[in-house]
Symmetry: C2
Subunit: 342 residues, 2 copies
């Protein structure tokens, strides 16, 4: 690689200065756009038409040891999480994954047992969500790298984009928020908590779940107008849905996990902040045609899951939190690589 020294000046931001989202925009600006692409660049998954009204659905998401694997997480858990991260995006679009590939970058000090642990974690993740690892690549890298790519097919019209929310729709989520963020804070800053609470919060970090059954069932119900997964945090996901749909939201009930309220109260933290501005959580954030609410709720219940209404879609393009009769702006903040630190 050519040396970087000597040719940098103050105008050139480093990748860390730029942040993940600006980098993605920058990269995209240099890419030729596929004509008639069935899913726009920047949605949870990518897609390609394969004829007869069907599309191939593709996703890649990479886990990097240094930024995505908190201290205390095993390699087995890290590998499983790498799979879950990708499945969650398929879940948000209502697409069943069929097969997975993995590019592994292995630090040279990993031993045989570590490699086996990684393989078992990848396989567990795939089996948990009903698909197979069909190929991959491996090489030496300074960091632990697991770049997963996921494949599935769908009817072109069945896929739920980020861009379909309409004023009057109901905003809903598939679970409560904040446990992962609280768990990460716990790992980083060492707060005092009971053993039971500690277990719940760390389990949320180490053993995340993707809402695949909920996502598939919700999409099949036909009640959804837009959908995203919450891996970049609830606030960020709401902003993404709002921006892509050219609408706004009024949120009147933030779905704070009960354990997060307890953790926050005990440690003098703001539970609302933990629930809104976290990340690495894999709930679905969706909008539902209001007259179809019951169908949506039933669809999720049939999978053993829950659907929590948290607000409404508005014409006014703001993401607001209504609390005690007052409205506050929800900031477009969330988890971002190059900038956020565990």
């Amino acid at each position: 690689m050519s040396k970087k020294e000597g040719r940098r000046n103050k105008k050139d931001g480093t990748s860390r200065d730029l942040g993940e989202r600006k980098i993605i925009k920058l990269i995209q600006s240099h890419l030729s756009a596929m004509p008639n692409i069935p899913v726009p660049f920047g949605d949870d998954v990518s897609a390609v038409k394969i004829g007869a009204g069907r599309i191939a659905v593709l996703k890649t998401d990479m886990l990097v040891g240094k930024t995505d694997v908190p201290r205390g997480m095993s390699l087995w858990q890290a590998a499983r999480k790498a799979v879950v991260m990708n499945v969650s995006d398929f879940a948000a679009k209502g697409v069943e994954p069929m097969a997975m590939l993995v590019s592994l970058g292995l630090p040279r000090n990993l031993i045989q047992k570590d490699v086996e642990e990684i393989a078992r974690g990848l396989n567990t993740g795939a089996q948990e969500y009903g698909f197979y690892v069909v190929g991959g690549d491996t090489g030496e890298a300074a960091d632990l790298i697991m770049a997963i790519s996921l494949f599935g097919t769908a009817k072109r019209k069945a896929i739920v984009l980020r861009s379909g929310a309409k004023a009057g729709d109901i905003v809903a989520v598939t679970g409560f928020f904040g446990k992962t963020t609280a768990g990460l804070r716990l790992l980083k800053d060492g707060y005092a908590v009971s053993k039971g609470l500690r277990e719940v919060l760390l389990n949320s970090v180490f053993m995340p779940k993707a809402r695949l059954c909920e996502g598939l069932s919700l999409c099949r119900s036909g009640a959804l107008s837009a959908s995203i997964d919450s891996s970049d945090g609830l606030a960020w996901s709401l902003h993404e849905l709002a921006t892509m749909s050219a609408v706004g939201f009024v949120i009147n009930s933030v779905p704070i996990a009960e354990e997060v309220s307890r953790f926050a109260e005990f440690n003098g933290l703001d539970s609302l902040e933990l629930a809104l501005y976290g990340g690495e959580e894999y709930e679905l954030v969706v909008t539902i045609k209001s007259r179809r609410w019951d169908d949506a709720e039933m669809a999720v219940r049939a999978t053993g899951g829950i659907l929590l209404p948290i607000g409404q879609v508005t014409r006014k393009k703001q993401v607001l939190l209504e609390m005690d009769g007052e409205k506050h702006l929800i900031k477009p903040l969330g988890w971002e690589h190059f900038r956020s630190k565990i």
Copy 2:
């Protein structure tokens, strides 16, 4: 990540001790096998049935800055090479790539200009072979990482595996070998060469080409019985084809590039070694039904390429080199991550 210190003992080999191929076998042994998988694990690409006799063809191959980007290669070239590496595997199977995803790991000291160079390199690679980048992921990593995944579709029966070579078939390649290996030696050890020769050899390292047109045309001709790309070196590719097809080869004409002969002669190196035991070259190594040779040759010529016969397929499961009436074993050596060093 849990700490590795203190729990390693002498029996545990590190990933470097194991080598890429053992690691892949180890990983595979922990993966559940997809039933009725249309392309066996370990071929150039992976595949999944998508109905109506068609398959989705998938490939991931990862470029790592430290091991795959020699000094002097620009980021634009590295990104383009990352694409070529993947396209070459599609070429070997006769499958047209339709779309690409990329997971990028960016060292934090990269500047905006670097990121743009990478994006342009990826796009150039995709455009050169007629497809589009449709999505990706980016994050911070210690190494430069480009994990590409490629997608296409094919008729299930049209794909050419590594396993179809039969005794009596002709072994052939799509070009001459050794330039990349000579170029890498030149970069590493600084041999004396003319400016013109230096340019040719380095161009082979910095601007590799995948034989996509040749591969597509060859597969369509129906004359192929087996096929592999030569990214792990000619000797290794021959051994792979032989093992997967349960046959042997007698090679009687090693396709040494004329420039490599000159480079070797001038510097007291063995041109045969450079051509056989290299890697990072993207020719196709194929076997052809002998009575279909003319069709195969015409198919490649129609693309502007060449097809060089180099030997025959034999029943005896050895890969031999016949020179001056004597037979020598070709060793199963080639490029291997974790072990080979640029």
